[in-house]
């Protein structure tokens, strides 16, 4: 009886936790994507979203969905491995006809509310990374803030305002990665030997720093 009670409590807690997580994510994901869940089957996904474009094969598929009715996000990336959804990300990126990119990405306005919500749910225990990108024009360093739990990784990344006009594809991205998936290639080393002078904090503006470090409880891994 005692054992049964423990199992029941465990199931309730687990269910409640999942519910909490899902509802939190739903706050970030546009309504049109709320049928999508990690570990979702690729066939089911294609039935729900036949318009999705993809590249790849049955063992690894990269899909995209274009989002049209959301204030922040205009795209969604989904990566399936062996038919199961392992990565989902919503992103904001500009089309070729956007002239004022800084205004379009307005970091304070777009990032701060998301960051505040994420901290509220996942706390201030984060991993700091700089995602270094190199094209033929410039090198950009996108800070990525990662919340890690046993089940998932939540990653928030964006092109710092000082680089927006210099890179070909500035963006804001919020990704959820399933447990056990190695997406480390997205997150390169913070201190790159070529640019050791650039630190994570240098990529953040004051208001973001305030939100991120605004408490003595902050723990940095």
């Amino acid at each position: 009886m005692k054992k049964l009670l423990i199992v029941a409590i465990f199931l309730i807690v687990a269910f409640f936790t999942v519910q909490v997580k899902a509802s939190v994510l739903n706050e970030f994901i546009p309504t049109e994507l709320q049928n999508i869940d990690l570990e979702m089957n690729y066939t089911d996904f294609k039935l729900l979203y036949p318009e999705a474009k993809n590249i790849g094969n049955s063992s690894e598929t990269f899909c995209i969905l274009e989002i049209s009715h959301d204030e922040i996000w205009n795209g969604c990336i989904l990566i399936f491995k062996d038919e199961k959804l392992k990565y989902i990300a919503v992103l904001r990126q500009k089309s070729d006809d956007v002239i004022d990119a800084n205004q379009y990405f307005n970091i304070e306005q777009k990032i701060l509310p998301i960051l505040k919500k994420l901290i509220k749910v996942f706390g201030r225990t984060i991993i700091k990374k700089i995602n270094k990108k190199k094209d033929n024009l410039t090198i950009s360093h996108e800070p990525i803030i990662i919340w890690e739990s046993k089940k998932t990784k939540i990653c928030l990344g964006y092109t710092p305002p000082q680089f927006i006009s210099k890179v070909q594809n500035p963006n804001i991205i919020l990704a959820v990665i399933a447990e056990g998936e190695d997406f480390s290639s997205y997150f390169q080393e913070l201190h790159n030997p070529e640019n050791s002078q650039i630190t994570f904090d240098e990529m953040l503006n004051t208001s973001i720093k305030d939100v991120l470090y605004g408490s003595i409880e902050v723990k940095i891994k």
């Binding site: 474009k53 590249i55 094969n57 995209i64 274009e66 990336i77 990566i79 990126q93 094209d135 033929n136």
Partner: protein, 665 residues
């Protein structure tokens, strides 16, 4: 008195007889020496005309040349004989220009040596030597380099001198230019000096007649312009710098208002091409520019210009280029037409001059390009012409006999890769590439195709280039990627025949597949997918590169053909334009990673066309937004110019495909 007179007459007679007796052998000896000398000269001409450059002939030619020079050394009057021969046989004078020039220099040197006590001459020698050792700055080096390689000699004798004002300005420019010893001075004095040169070159009324002087001024102007507009001060030997100088000469040609200056600038431009080893381009430039001025030239000037094109440019062209051969033949026929139109020479002289041209030029051009039937047809014109001298006819007959054997022979280079199960395929065109992955094995051989009744063997076989061996058949592999140029020279029946071709080696694509690479760069991949630049196999026909190539190159090889080549180039061009070279390379090379090893030729073709597409994207400025016309036009040009490659056999069922540029069949 009578007796005395008779006695005296008798004595006078005896004296005259004795004198004659003594003098005759001297005259006879002199005549014999001249005859022998001229016979050597003719022999030298004949051996040169054979154009067979095997070791025996080259050695022979050197010996005859030494003998001629030795004879002139012993009897200086023979120098005049040689000069007269060169003047009388104007078409052959190019064979003696160097010799005559050397002898003239030698004479000058001897005169200077005799007067070596004279201070001013001693200074002259010293100064002329120093000038060559001069610490040449870029432009000077360019100046001397071109100055001493001017090939248009004959016109210098004919054209009249420039006006005293021009000559004065020319000398002043030369002195001013020689005083420039460093970059700083060039920067300081260069612009004004360049302007002065250009004022002479772009004069409305012309004014220059002498190519050597004109060429010097043109090179100074171009060299200063190029140097002053250059960010880097690379070596004068840099091929890039020389190309920029050539471009400037072409620009000056375009700007020059006077037709005679256009003619001279064309020669300067072609000489510049020759100097960097591009005779086909030199001939092509002269041929296309010719339309602007040729009709306005006098007959003599026409003869000089067309002879320059035929003799100095067309004969310099290596075999295998049909266009150059066609232009060359056209030029030599034009030379014959001008000879026919010349009213100052009789019919016999006309026939012999034309015979010399046929023997030296047309037949040689055909022979060099292994068009033996055409060469023999030209030789027959000499043989069947009654007015032609016997010694020229004999040369023609001898040559015809040698060439007739070659009509029945075919020399083939063959290859066999590891998927051809021991079968061989002929490399039928020099511009085709054998595709090969680094480390993969390849067999090559050279073979003689001949009638079953004949049994001709190669005297020797020598492979040059990336591989050097004397084997008729051998196996090779390359560890490094690149276009590996190879050449095989075979000797048979006293003739050397060359076959050139290339092996195109690429590294086997390794690393991330396209999907893995796409995953690594999600932001770019999102955009590439939404722009329909990449996609799943099932939707490939909806992708922009596929759609455009299929429409533009309809029914033109969608798999391994020209459409395929254009598609890959366009695909990479667009990906580079929007996401940078690294992303384009990662996705498109990644596309080839898991391809079966049997399809290596497809992989090499795709990798090449991908690379070309990325280059195309960086070479042109893009239209705004999503207007793809700039990229489309750039790709169409690349396909038209043969920068992209495709299969010579689209089905490739025997796995023996060769790659060829898209402007060839």
């Amino acid at each position: 008195m009578y007796n005395r007179l008779m006695k005296n007459i008798y004595l006078i007679f005896i004296t005259i007889f004795v004198l004659l007796f003594k003098a005759l052998p001297v005259f006879a000896l002199e005549a014999e020496r001249t005859n022998n000398f001229l016979s050597d000269v003719k022999n030298y001409v004949y051996k040169n005309q054979l154009k067979v450059k095997n070791q025996t002939i080259i050695k022979d030619l050197t010996n005859i040349k030494i003998k001629i020079l030795k004879q002139i050394n012993q009897a200086p009057s023979l120098y005049d004989e040689l000069q007269n021969f060169a003047i009388a046989n104007r078409g052959l004078s190019y064979l003696f220009n160097d010799m005559l020039k050397d002898l003239k220099e030698k004479q000058k040197f001897e005169i200077l040596q005799k007067h070596s006590n004279n201070g001013s001459n001693a200074t002259l020698i010293k100064r002329s030597k120093t000038s060559l050792k001069y610490r040449l700055t870029m432009a000077e080096q360019m100046f001397y380099y071109f100055k001493f390689t001017s090939r248009f000699v004959s016109a210098a004798n004919r054209f009249i001198e420039e006006s005293p004002e021009i000559l004065k300005e020319y000398e002043s420019i030369k002195i001013e230019f020689s005083s420039i010893e460093d970059i700083e001075t060039l920067k300081q004095k260069g612009p004004a000096l360049c302007k002065r040169c250009e004022k002479l070159l772009l004069n409305q009324t012309g004014g220059f007649h002498n190519i050597e002087r004109f060429e010097n001024v043109a090179i100074i102007a171009a060299a200063i312009n190029v140097r002053l507009n250059s960010d880097d001060w690379e070596s004068a030997d840099s091929s890039d710098l020389k190309i920029r100088l050539i471009n400037r000469l072409a620009e000056l040609y375009r700007l020059a208002p006077h037709f005679k200056h256009k003619c001279l600038l064309t020669i300067a431009l072609s000489n510049a091409y020759l100097n960097i080893g591009l005779p086909h381009e030199a001939l092509s430039a002269s041929y296309s520019n010719k339309n602007d001025f040729y009709d306005k030239l006098t007959d003599n000037e026409k003869a000089d210009f067309i002879w320059y094109m035929a003799n100095n440019l067309a004969l310099e062209c290596s075999p295998g280029n049909e266009r150059s051969l066609k232009i060359g033949i056209e030029c030599f026929y034009e030379c014959c037409r001008l000879i026919d139109a010349d009213t100052g020479i009789d019919e016999n002289a006309k026939a012999n001059r034309k015979a010399e041209i046929y023997l030296e030029a047309t037949s040689v051009l055909y022979e060099k390009n292994e068009k033996y039937f055409e060469a023999i047809t030209e030789l027959d014109k000499i043989i069947n012409d009654d007015k032609v001298y016997a010694w020229i006819k004999n040369n023609a007959l001898e040559k015809k006999k040698a060439l007739q054997t070659f009509l029945t022979l075919k020399i083939n280079v063959l290859f066999s890769n590891e998927f051809m199960s021991g079968k061989w395929k002929i490399i039928d065109k020099p511009y085709k590439y054998i595709p090969l992955l680094a480390g993969q094995k390849l067999k090559l051989k050279v073979e003689l195709e001949q009638p079953s009744e004949s049994n001709i063997q190669f005297d020797s076989v020598n492979w040059y280039g990336e591989i050097q061996t004397a084997e008729q058949e051998f196996e090779l592999s390359f560890s490094e990627p690149g276009k590996k140029r190879l050449r095989v020279e075979v000797e048979l029946l006293g003739k050397t025949i060359t076959r050139s071709f290339a092996v195109y080696v690429k590294n086997k694509p390794e690393g991330l597949s396209d999907v893995s690479f796409a995953k690594k760069n999600p932001i770019e991949t999102f955009k590439a997918l939404s722009k329909k630049l990449i996609g799943a196999q099932t939707m490939v026909e909806e992708l922009e590169p596929f759609k455009w190539a299929a429409e533009t190159y309809k029914n033109n090889g969608s798999h391994n053909g020209i459409q395929d080549a254009a598609r890959h180039a366009y695909w990479n061009c667009l990906l580079t334009r929007y996401f940078g070279e690294d992303y384009a390379k990662g996705i498109t090379d990644g596309h080839e990673v898991n391809t079966s090893s049997e399809l290596f030729a497809e992989v090499i073709m795709d990798l090449h066309n991908n690379e070309e597409g990325r280059k195309i994207a960086q070479k042109h400025s893009h239209d705004a937004g999503n207007n793809y016309d700039c990229c489309r036009n750039a790709v169409i040009n690349a396909v038209r110019n043969g920068y992209t490659l495709y299969f010579d056999d689209l089905a490739n069922s025997n796995k023996d495909v060769l790659l060829l540029p898209t402007n060839n069949k």
